[in-house]
Symmetry: C2
Subunit: 236 residues, 2 copies
DNA sequence: GAAGCCGAACCTGTATGACAGGTTTGCCGA
DNA sequence: TCGGCAAACCTGTCATACAGGTTCGGCTTC
């Protein structure tokens, strides 16, 4: 029999987390379905409400359940929020470098853009192009530009039709948002900034036209530029 | 100014989580460094110890800090435990399919094995080969075989010298452990089982010899086999 | 008979106090 | 100087209390 990996920490809270996840699985609860109340669980599992609450908090931190005041806890849809925090923690504690993040992103986004070119529907193609256009429009408004840049890449990830790719890309969003300004500031010339926008437009066009090779090539170009920009800014 | 993504849930606990992560960053705490006691934080942040405890639990769930009875909380080294649970949750709630996991794994492990062939040191090459050998030795002991299979892939990820790859691979470990027996059972013939072991040995040899192309080709072969095995077992 | 309003029951968020058991630290004795 | 011991500190868990949000059924009104 499997022992839930959470049970390793042999505390009551850990066992309770295991019991709750088991409950979700055995009852085949789907996102949106509600869990028993804290008091009910406490009674059933023979622990105090404190323990159940801490278990709930732990699961909520991983976005496995959703908590809201007054309402019962509910099973949550997958969300990259927790993974984003984990990655940020790794970077801030010097366990992960920005370069390493970019190497992984290049690997994943190469595949994403290929899949997106093959699988995207009309609406997704439109949305991706719209973000690229919005980037050009916001060329003098860095915060807005960054938002559209992030949305552009998330749109690609969604168009790949594989939620795991979207999840991983989302996990990088937090740290990317923190390093993006560095890369932008290092693009001092108007030409460099123009090129950065053009890269995105090229990717969007290739995806919209359903040309995976060109899309992958354009994405590769984009990463060459971005990594060069970050290196020239002194980011290791 | 940035508002921590955690602060969205406007509760006291969420703000406290934000305050603690800010503390970690501003004081440049590294893995192993200890945090203030619950009582101290409660006093400093003007909240009850209950709130601090729930915040600690949340951070511990994401493996950002480590809790232990009697000892002060400490900053944790990055760990894939939380991400593993998140992925498992996605699969169990039908938000992610096994096929999608394998598509991501193929993408990532192709790159991992290439990097590993280029960067592995002698010890890592040795360890990877040892796991492959152990797989052959455990061909009649599925649980042990699976353990060595997982360790083999994690060894490759480590040899890529990029902790983010290792982190992502680790995130798939939990769900892989749950589906592995399905793939194994679907390999009914001795030849199919032999081929599966041989694939791993080929990968290990190519990595040890520093031949990235052959390593990537062998890994691709491995995934072709594995996906075929899972499909024939009826896993969507 | 149907639609809308209202209050009671239920539930979560937070605080307080208590105590058992594990950990750390510094002092004291050998 | 070294080893051990005890006190201080800290976390894990429990019980209780109460404010404020949510739900749901019944009652009123049209």
């Amino acid at each position: 029999m499997w022992s839930d990996p959470v049970d390793q920490g042999v505390g009551l809270v850990s066992s309770t987390i295991g019991a709750i996840t088991r409950l979700i699985r055995e009852q085949d609860l789907m996102p949106g379905d509600r869990l028993p109340s804290e008091a009910t669980l406490a009674r059933d599992l023979q622990v105090s409400r404190t323990v159940v609450r801490e278990a709930f908090r732990s699961l909520a931190a991983m976005r496995i359940i959703e908590l809201a005041s007054g309402r019962r806890a509910a099973v949550a849809p997958i969300d990259h929020g927790a993974m984003s925090l984990i990655i940020e923690h790794g970077v801030h504690t010097d366990q992960i470098s920005i370069q390493q993040i970019y190497d992984v992103r290049r690997t994943i986004e190469s595949r994403i853009v290929t899949l997106a070119a093959l699988r995207r529907n009309e609406g997704e193609a439109q949305a991706i192009r719209a973000e690229a256009a919005a980037m050009r429009a916001a060329i003098d408004d860095p915060p807005a530009l960054m938002r559209h840049d992030l949305a552009f890449h998330m749109g690609l990830a969604r168009a790949s039709r594989n939620p795991v790719f979207a999840l991983i890309m989302g996990a990088f969003q937090g740290i990317t948002a923190q390093t993006w300004p560095v890369g932008w500031r290092s693009r001092t010339s108007a030409a460099a900034r123009e090129a950065m926008i053009a890269n995105h437009e090229n990717i969007a066009a290739a995806v919209a036209e359903g040309d995976p090779e060109r899309a992958a090539a354009a994405m590769s170009q984009h990463f060459d530029d971005s990594v060069r920009a970050l290196i020239s800014a002194g980011l290791t």
